[in-house]
Amino acid sequence: MTPAITVSRLTRRFGDFIAVDDVSFDVRQGEIFGFLGANGAGKSTTIRMLCGLLRPTSGTATVGGVDVARDPEAVKLRIGYMSQKFSLYEALTVEQNIRFFGGVYGLEGERFATRRAFALEMAGLVGREKTPTRDLAGGWRQRLALGCAILHEPPIVFLDEPTGGVDPVSRRQFWRLIDHLSQQGTTVLVTTHYLDEAEHCHRIAVMNAGKLAALGTTHELKQVFAGRPIMEVQAPSAVAAMRALELLPEVEKTSLFGTAVHAVLRSRDTTAASVVAGLRASGVTATSVVPVEPSLEDVFLDLVERASA
């Protein structure tokens, strides 16, 4: 099966600034492909190039078999796009928004009727067709925006931080929709800030300062911690514990996780008991020290730190 998206040595400069630097990856058909990275890491610029909105400075990208630099208009027929802004016309009603996007995508008659019904159903807005979009709560608006973006049944969908500013319940519902799309064979490329959302993705690309820092399944990404176990340390003062841990020779680095501290150890041989002992030597009494599986957040922080080192 040919990949839905192929990116090869893609680069985009804005003057002296390199927003996307020599990035290569493939996205398989029907895959949910996550794009992780801090603000300004180059995620949106990459997406804009893939959608044919921005010309690559160098490198190539094909989306649905079409070269984005050569035929951006043909790309637009094959993709759906939705951004964090849920770009609907707020003054218009639900129905009028669907009609507008249907018109822009050239849908008519029977096909439009079916897709309109689908979008209303999906957004959970059946019976509220006459409501102005600005009166909808975030979750509904977001699902309607998704519905409008995929009215024309594109095989590939780009979602640029689709869940920004939406409550957790709506986020969960939204991801169920994305899972559903993927099961039906739609390829989804999604950027997000939320690391828990990244767990929904089949594969994740981590971008940092325009470069691809890592790529793989969550399981594969967590392999960066192979041979570097993580201890979760609870103590009355997390900050004091963190300082004490930093002084221990067996600790590579630490980071704060809520009220706990994650300590990355240099070797598998270090036990929880030896960490407790080490802390007591610095006058810190740990309430618990347990080995934990690395979370995506650990992975992300580790990748970003190493990339900037």
């Binding site: 010309r55 003054a91 507008f100 018109g103 822009v104 995508y105 102005p132």
Partner: protein, 370 residues
């Protein structure tokens, strides 16, 4: 074309729901028409006049009634001393005072030249000039009658007999309405299009639309069409209202009038579009629109200040102000009943302006979208 219609339909619905745009499109034309139509009136009538008649003869009474019968002067006081004139003038009771000298009737009958004194309040120079003009017209007419009555008197062989065409009453409203039309058209077309496009940029809907397979041209056509229809309607409305309110004649053909308005508004829409490609926020767009279209239309089109009396440099600037050509065409069609050939130059200039600005806007938009 279907896609353009989809955009156009959406835009129409948005206009209907957007109070601010509706205000700009409908309220402003009416407001300006009434404001300028009634307030911006250069005509002066019923000038309050005091008369000091020192002659008290049939001839002097004739002269005074000639002033009153002209319709421009109302005699509000008869005085006997100069001090009374000063008092009345100070209390703003009168704008002018006529002093008929003793011996007027005697001298006139003898054919001896007589001087009649008129004192004019010069606080407002414009008004004073106009009043002076009225007064000398009355005096000239009267003295011509005396000359005929007194044979042998030195009569001027050549006499100026002014006849004002197209606007025989010299009503300034007739002169202003075409300017108003140009002004209103510019406001509605430039501002509404500029704001409409920039708003899509601000709200992020522009990006969404650009992701869809719709070309620049259908988008622009769809986007401008509703504004074209609305501003065309507003323009026709202004003409109709002026016909009722100010007795505006439409002496030429309506088709020619509509053609001129269409060309002018087309250029104005393109201007709004061009501004939208430069401005990133609605505020900036509004300000640019204000500077680039309101002011030139008001100041440099010949609407208020005649182009011929501008400094040479400014006269050159007026060549790129579309309202200048529109005004010539409008005044021609409305007041003179000019035919196509007479206004062809102006129409061509308007078409050229529209074509150039449209191309500029298209180039900028292509660059922005690519």
């Amino acid at each position: 074309m279907r896609k353009a219609l989809a955009v156009g339909r959406k835009e129409f619905r948005q206009i209907r729901r957007d109070r601010r745009t509706l205000m700009i499109l409908l309220f402003i034309p009416v407001f300006f028409l009434l404001l300028y139509g009634y307030a911006l009136n250069f005509d002066i009538k019923h000038v309050k006049l005091a008369v000091e008649d020192r002659d008290l003869s049939p001839e002097s009474r004739r002269l005074v009634s000639a002033f009153v019968n002209s319709g421009y002067f109302d005699q509000v006081a008869s005085v006997t001393t100069e001090q009374e004139i000063v008092d009345l003038m100070d209390r703003d009771g009168i704008r002018a005072a006529l002093i008929v000298p003793r011996g007027l009737s005697r001298d006139v009958r003898r054919g001896v030249p007589v001087s009649v004194e008129i004192i004019i309040n010069g606080e407002n120079a414009n008004t004073a000039t106009t009043v002076m003009g009225y007064a000398s017209t009355v005096i000239t007419t009267e003295s011509a009658r005396y000359q005929m009555a007194a044979p042998g008197a030195p009569a001027p062989f050549v006499q100026l007999e002014p006849r004002v065409w197209y606007n025989p009453d010299l009503r300034s409203s007739l002169f202003l309405v075409p300017g108003l039309l140009a002004y209103i058209g510019m406001i509605t077309a430039v501002v509404s299009t500029a704001l409409a496009v920039v708003r899509e940029k601000e709200r992020g809907t522009m990006e969404q639309v650009r992701m869809a397979p719709i070309g620049t041209l259908p988008f622009i056509v769809g986007k401008s069409l509703p504004y074209f229809v609305v501003s065309m309607t507003a323009a026709v409305g202004v003409v109709l209202a002026s016909m009722v309110l100010f007795d505006l004649p439409v002496r030429g053909s309506w088709w020619l009038l509509l053609l001129a308005m269409a060309l002018y508004l087309f250029g104005a829409l393109a201007m709004g579009l061009f501004i939208s490609t430069v401005a990133q926020s609605q505020q900036v767009a509004f300000q640019i629109a204000l500077l680039s279209s309101f002011l030139p239309t008001m100041m440099l089109s010949g609407f208020i200040f005649p182009i011929a009396s501008m400094p040479t440099v400014l006269q050159f600037v007026t060549y790129v102000v579309p309202a200048r050509y529109f005004l010539v065409a409008l005044r021609g069609v409305l007041l003179k009943g000019s035919g196509f050939l007479a206004v062809a130059d102006s129409l061509a200039a308007l078409a050229l302006f529209a074509a150039i600005v449209t191309s500029l806007a298209a180039i900028r938009l292509r660059r922005e979208w690519a």
